[in-house]
Amino acid sequence: MNDYIRPGHGSGGKLMHELIHDIFFRHFGHHELKKGSDSALLQSNGHRLAFTTDSFVVNPLFFPGGDIGKLAVCGTVNDLAVCGAIPQYLSAGFILEEGFSIAELEKIVISMAREAKNSGVNIVTGDTKVVHKGMADKLFINTSGIGYIPEYAGSFANNRKIKKGDVLIINGTLGDHAIAVLSEREDLPFQSTIKSDCACLNHLIHSLLEKKLHIKFMRDLTRGGLATCLNEIAQAQAIDIEINETRIPVKASVEGICETLGFDPLYLANEGKVVIIVSAEDASEVIETLKADDLGKESTIIGKVTSENGKKVIAESAIGGKRLLQMRTGEQLPRIC
């Protein structure tokens, strides 16, 4: 009964993880792929390279704070940056639906060029395919990226040991991207002024690495939201994490929409947020460095590592009760009563 691809297989949650492990990892099998990190870290003639790829299918193509082109550059740049790499070159593959407006395509490409320039990467190769009307939803983009790992980031890329007492930091508010996209879709009974947080984080991240602070781990938040990301970290690193919900920054307007539609901000998509695990003694300097950048103004500690031998994520609620945070399962849907 369940042998079909369902929307949840692409939502960044548990179903997608199962698909990746059961189908892709099983047949592709390379040890670097199986690490499941944001980028593959490769050796080439003594140089250390990071390599990654990402596809973008967002609907609508344009939303407050960005568009599919900006996302396509930021997503790949961020996947390289969180691995400690300096992003260098990007590819751009386009799948276009017959009938799609060339003016809109150009608008998207201009946006990609602008974002690439801002983040210091060059788009150096590409591909174009056109499919018949109805065979794709207007436009899909794939970008791949290559970056090099500078000497000063070498020890970070080698994975420092996460210890009990290390703290978790986030660089700003949760859920802005999900709500901006949602509010742009038709037929929703509300209007909002929330903008997507879509941004390239490479300059922010490298300001940390250059200072040689004891960064243990970084991951950018995407579709599965903070809860899914923390579960991935807890499982991959075999640690227990505890977060305090009152410390997690959420815009009042995002919170209001979540309350109305029954969403949990911890499971909403983000496109310009990174979770950083750092030793407690370096936490204040990390936050100070993050706050010096526009993309890190609201940086704050949200929780800590409570055990070096575990895989649980626990959240303390506003009233002090505790609950287990699970990975996102399927799509978040508006509740009915």
Partner: protein
């Protein structure tokens, strides 16, 4: 949005928790009827803050969870008809029918669309006059007025291609059935949203005939803690009355307009509830005057025979006889991604609430 954090104030919560600990003398079992309450109780970790002698049970108040399998099978049969669009609340998509689900039918090519209200479904009907739009009308007294308004508007605008497949259920008959089944509880945390429509009088019978304290509760942690304290007090004082804790939203008289339109459009009938069997006068169907909007009356369809659940104990969970942790399938054979029973599908289902937000007792 204002007044969210006010109802999640840690100091005030702590005061109420202390009072509950101080007042709790014997053992207490309270049932939260509403799925929204189950969700909030788990989300805020309330069980980890209560004394162990207070036990909270989840009741039959998640509309998706109590919707009978044969209803899903009927909806799937309609989804397979050509020129037909099924308009549904999102939660129903993944509910397993006997051999399929609406989500799978959509993947196979059926036209199934998610809506947020009955009026949205009516709008689709008006925009696509060559298609038949069937709205899956589920929910309790909370959503029934919305379906009623859509039928009235369809009638006024002479829309011919809008139909509803009703599974609108009524709360009090199920609450009585649970006690009649012999479930041992000491009081009801009564549903807040249902009561905004119905008012408080629908629970009078339960408080009087069954001697059960009833407190209508809001959905924030302070609401729920205050409600639990009020129930403890009623039990201690051997009272059984209906109290309204959620006074900022619930009037004793309810919403007269909503009640009037429900009465105009619907009539009561007996109904199957998933896992609970047949409950007399527990469902709303369109009255004779509005039968042209009743999918079952107007659109004949062959429905495959319903296959009963194997191993799933949703029925006992809905009745409060067991908790999700008692189920052999919980967490392994039945997960939100691959649900076996309806309680694991809906965000308000007891099993999903337990799965997503396990309380402190299960954490350590």
């Amino acid at each position: 949005m204002k007044y969210v954090h006010e109802y999640r104030n840690k100091e005030l919560s702590q005061k109420l928790i202390n009072k509950i600990h101080h007042s709790a003398k014997g053992k207490y079992t309270f049932m939260e009827v509403c799925g929204g309450h189950t969700m909030a109780i788990q989300k805020f970790g309330i069980p980890s803050l209560l004394p162990p002698k207070i036990k909270l049970l989840s009741g039959p108040g998640c509309p998706v969870c109590v919707t009978e399998k044969s209803y899903i099978d009927t909806a799937i049969a309609y989804a397979r008809l050509s020129n037909t669009i099924i308009a549904t609340f999102g939660d129903l998509m993944r509910i397993p029918g006997s051999t399929s689900s609406l989500e799978l039918e959509k993947a196979r090519g059926s036209d199934v669309t998610i809506v947020l209200s009955a009026l949205e479904a009516l709008k689709i009907a008006q925009n696509k006059p060559d298609k038949k739009i069937i709205f899956l009308a589920i929910g309790f007294e909370t959503t029934a007025p919305g379906s009623a308004v859509a039928v009235v508007q369809a009638s006024k605008a002479r829309v011919k291609n809008f139909f509803i497949l009703s599974a609108h259920k009524l709360m009090p008959p199920a609450m009585k059935a649970i006690v009649d089944e012999g479930v041992k509880i000491d009081g009801y945390i009564c549903p807040g949203h249902v009561s905004t429509i119905t008012g408080s009088a629908i629970y009078d019978d339960i408080a009087r005939k069954y001697s059960l304290p009833c407190v209508i509760s809001g959905f924030e942690p302070l609401d729920l803690l205050q409600t639990i304290l009020a129930l403890v007090h009623q039990v201690n004082e051997k009272h059984s009355t209906v109290e309204i804790q959620y006074a900022r939203a619930v009037q004793p008289n309810g919403n007269p307009k909503a009640k009037a339109i429900m009465k105009q459009i619907f009539c009561e009938t007996d109904s199957e509830w998933r896992g609970m069997g047949n409950i007399p006068k527990s469902k709303l169907v369109l009255s004779e005057k509005y039968q042209q909007y009743d999918a079952e009356k107007m659109i004949p369809v062959d429905v495959e025979p319903t296959i009963s659940d194997k191993g799933c104990i949703c029925g006992e969970i809905l009745k409060g006889l067991k908790t999700p942790l008692d189920c052999k399938l919980f967490g392994s054979g039945c997960t939100p991604e691959n649900p076996e029973g309806a309680c694991m599908v809906s965000g308000e289902g007891a099993c999903q609430a337990y799965y997503r937000y396990q309380s402190q007792t299960e954490i350590t």
